[in-house]
Symmetry: C2
Subunit: 647 residues, 2 copies
Amino acid sequence: MTATEAPESKCDVLVVGAGPAGLMLATWMAHCGINARVVDKRSTKIYNGQADGLQMRSLEIFDSLGFADRAWKEANHMLEMCMWNPGEDGKIRRSDRVPDTPPNLCRFTQIVLHQGRIERFFLDNIKKYSKDTLHIDRAVLPESLDIDQKACADHSADIYPITVKLRHLTDEEATPAQSKGSTVNDGLFRSNLAGDDTDDLIQKSREKQGSTEIIKAKYVVGCDGAHSWTRRQLGFQLEGEPTDFIWGVLDIIPITDFPDIRMRCAVHSASNGSLMVIPRENKLVRLYIQLTEIKPDASGRADRSRITPETIISAAQKIIAPYSLSYHYCDWWTAYQIGQRVGTNFDSQNRVFLAGDAVHTHSPKAGQGMNVSMQDAYNLGWKLGLVVKGVAKPSILATYQDERRKIAQDLIDFDHKFSRLFSGRPAKDVLDETGVSMAAFKDAFVKGNMFASGLSVDYGASMLVAKDSNQDLATNTPIGMRFPSHKVLNQCSAQPYHFQERLKSDGCFRIVVFAGNVLSPAQSARLRAFCDKLSTSTFLAPHLHNNIAILTCHSAKRTDTDLLSDFPDVLHRFDEKTGWDYDAVYVDDVSYHEGYADAYKGYGVQKETGCVVITRPDQYVGYVGALDGEEGWEGVEAYFKGVFVTI
Amino acid sequence: MTATEAPESKCDVLVVGAGPAGLMLATWMAHCGINARVVDKRSTKIYNGQADGLQMRSLEIFDSLGFADRAWKEANHMLEMCMWNPGEDGKIRRSDRVPDTPPNLCRFTQIVLHQGRIERFFLDNIKKYSKDTLHIDRAVLPESLDIDQKACADHSADIYPITVKLRHLTDEEATPAQSKGSTVNDGLFRSNLAGDDTDDLIQKSREKQGSTEIIKAKYVVGCDGAHSWTRRQLGFQLEGEPTDFIWGVLDIIPITDFPDIRMRCAVHSASNGSLMVIPRENKLVRLYIQLTEIKPDASGRADRSRITPETIISAAQKIIAPYSLSYHYCDWWTAYQIGQRVGTNFDSQNRVFLAGDAVHTHSPKAGQGMNVSMQDAYNLGWKLGLVVKGVAKPSILATYQDERRKIAQDLIDFDHKFSRLFSGRPAKDVLDETGVSMAAFKDAFVKGNMFASGLSVDYGASMLVAKDSNQDLATNTPIGMRFPSHKVLNQCSAQPYHFQERLKSDGCFRIVVFAGNVLSPAQSARLRAFCDKLSTSTFLAPHLHNNIAILTCHSAKRTDTDLLSDFPDVLHRFDEKTGWDYDAVYVDDVSYHEGYADAYKGYGVQKETGCVVITRPDQYVGYVGALDGEEGWEGVEAYFKGVFVTI
């Protein structure tokens, strides 16, 4: 299979696909300093349309990477969801308003911004962190994937069990065709209404000379979408069924007298189908519009050629009547057939992984696709990083499928329920059994909101999640869920921070020391004993400050305590050139400008005696234990002995 | 004086100096679309050191221009000021802590970031807005300034009364010499301990051919620093006196056991002088250190050659003892002699203006210099913009000197008092009359904080400030002061905003309609009558939406009101291509995530009946009046007839 003339090179991680999942993976590689390569068959990145919703958890992740502020500034913020249903006269009217994002869960709310900007933020961030260890090549397509099965179990530094042949395309080959006659960008070529062009592209390119190369890789991640070439090479399937529901999508600047056009709206008409309004940045509004007049044929697939912006807006006008709706400017449009499918396998031998649409596809209306895809890659990236660096045991790679396949299944179940409630005809009354109850729809939306936020993810027990550690000591900091955020002050500068802001995506685990009331002699003694163990452990010594960072939050008064006298050195280590670390110790105390923090209460930690929490590099809580006693120091060391290799 | 061979060109506004004042002026020119040119004799922008404090009002201005978020993210935030004084044993100890920024004045607090980054934000913003109408040329020096006195009074579009000859320098000429033997950047060449090199540079460059050009300008603004060449051409003086106090400045990463090194600190030692600590970004700390062993000679000027980083840190060590203080990394250093001077004139014939250090110099420790300088230019820029565009009466230009000279005098008075209290020896007890009372120092600091925030600026009565309009209708929105900020919601999207965020620096005046309870039939009738007048005025018609924007905030419940039915069209105008304006009407109502706004109470406006406020393009309040009655519509029209020309 290998061409003798093709140039050959090595990389630690090869990522196939430079969409949000692929770029998230690449961003982790950049932050961890891993030698990686990303290839994408398209010649340019996306400038219009595609996915747009950013959920709360995605924004927390962006913040940990360093660019949540850019998304927050440019995006449209969605505050309220309005439900419109037929009244007794059959005309639509607003039946309900609910907050689009449940209050008090997170410092962010749901926002909307088009995928092209989000990919720009990733690319800028990768450039900032990668220092020439990472390359993104466009118009490059993998043609073959060979796995040396015998070599897979050995994760030593010099073993590259995967051989991938890459094919370089011309610009023309790599630019997807747009619908004929249209001057507006569309996304039909990516839609599930269109077939995949990968095999065609490979076939065409084979007629040319000198356009291939060979990559030897330790790991490959397929982030190559619903038609995933990588998945096909592995012989894995997506399982699930399509429905008969066809929906169109329009990004327009609307001209309308519909009063809630700047709110997120679910509009169920009496008999013309449903519509969702998603207000966007730059005066744009995205409309998801049910196309009731278009049905799949016998093959199960709808006729694409009948779908145009004109047919879509015409369907929207019928749904939203008696309000007027038109536009002068259309930014992008597409159409898709609703269905839910989930991958049978997420990895092969802990060497080749699948993420994003390659392992779950569903309808886009809940704004989940891009978010769950990025979160797949966010779960996997640091694990690959730590294994490549020889720091963590290779067996942590198996937790990727364990943790993410359940999320994918939950997503599919959620979307299955939600999209049927949305696409169904509203019930006329309680006796109308084939109609959808609008009360049931609202109920599903409100319950679904928590799932959709991305904050309810709860990973199961594993070497990374010590579910049986002492949850009682941090009752509102669930083991397996993301570390919640509450306001604390920096001990040395009195600056308020959301504590989660200090858990950067730098590849480090963190020992979060809730030091309690350090002014109590007994508590101070417990803290000093714990820190003595921490700084003298021969197992942890090579990992400390490199792969394990330490963050402290105490509960005594800020002005009564002092960094140098009240906190052992290991909590704020000294560097000969830059002095003490002033960014490691925090306090749960009153701020001058932002009121009381009450963080200990927020985390459910006893103010007097505190506790120890371990967070993973992705901010998920791995362990909770006491500062002393049997679980004290031994619990912490045991956790890390389960994850890290002895150096 | 004009050279026949030199190329000649025209520009509306020529700015001399590309420091913070010059760049602020240029930014206004970019936002107003004015053809302008900026020249600076230095070849490169600043990368280290110089000014660093950003006060609250400066951040509000940055926000209105679009880059407060960048400064906010990169800067160090200062929360607390600690006072250290000698105890009875003569050793320093912390005597007080006070908030560095008074709470509840502003949505920002004081922050610290070096001048180079701030100049970068200006340059990026100018590039974004200027569309090739604005050029910044470095290593270019004005050599002569001629004013056609007879032409000055005629502000017609084709009159260019000012001729400036520019000289292009070589890179070598334009790069300031650094102290001999030092590898660290210093700012001595800009300090008042050094002479000015402008005349030398002109003399040297005259030996070369073909390095001049002629600019014909309508207006010139001298932002060229304390040694201002522009000021000298006009024959204006700075008046005031130097003191004997010499201070050094070090930007270092400190290695120390001083507990408050990440707080702003004022340290008065018993007999070794005083020191100020300003924590900075990237682990840096700026130290202002009194050099008690260096005195001015008979000429009144100190010997620069005796001042080095070593002598400065040595002085600091004596002041901060018994704590240790040293460093491995020094980023920048300088020294200066304290003095306070203010310009006799801020403009010549409303054609040539001076701003920033060209008209006020003082000690840097209160973090005022860069802020007041930028605010000078912020006051002048839009006035020049509107006059050049032929929209405003040229007589508004006279308000620049009226408004800013008083601020400069206040600044000088503040600094005179503050710097003497800071440089003085602490009193041993109440009988020690030559010593400085530490209680008096704290009192001066706390009082000075309000002045230093930049928020207490109160411009006097003029065509732009109708002090005799109806203050009673908006009791907490003082006429002549900056429009305060309170949280409101967008009527159409429910998104919370600080209302001041909607007053962008786009060159527009704003009619802020506090529409009151629009659900009351009587109030609705008043609002409609006012809006009828507004949309049918022949005087205002050509200015409306171009030079005058309209913002509305009502007090009825958001969910009971509707943009199209409850608010006259002029408050949310319709555009054929983009539909209704959804960003013009706001409401004082509860938000989902940020609590109650209570904006009407904050502005001191009656919730039922509201009022009308006019804000200037720089966010200062120009007028307050009722929606109806004699002051109603006539008051608004009369205000604008005083400012705008009839088109």
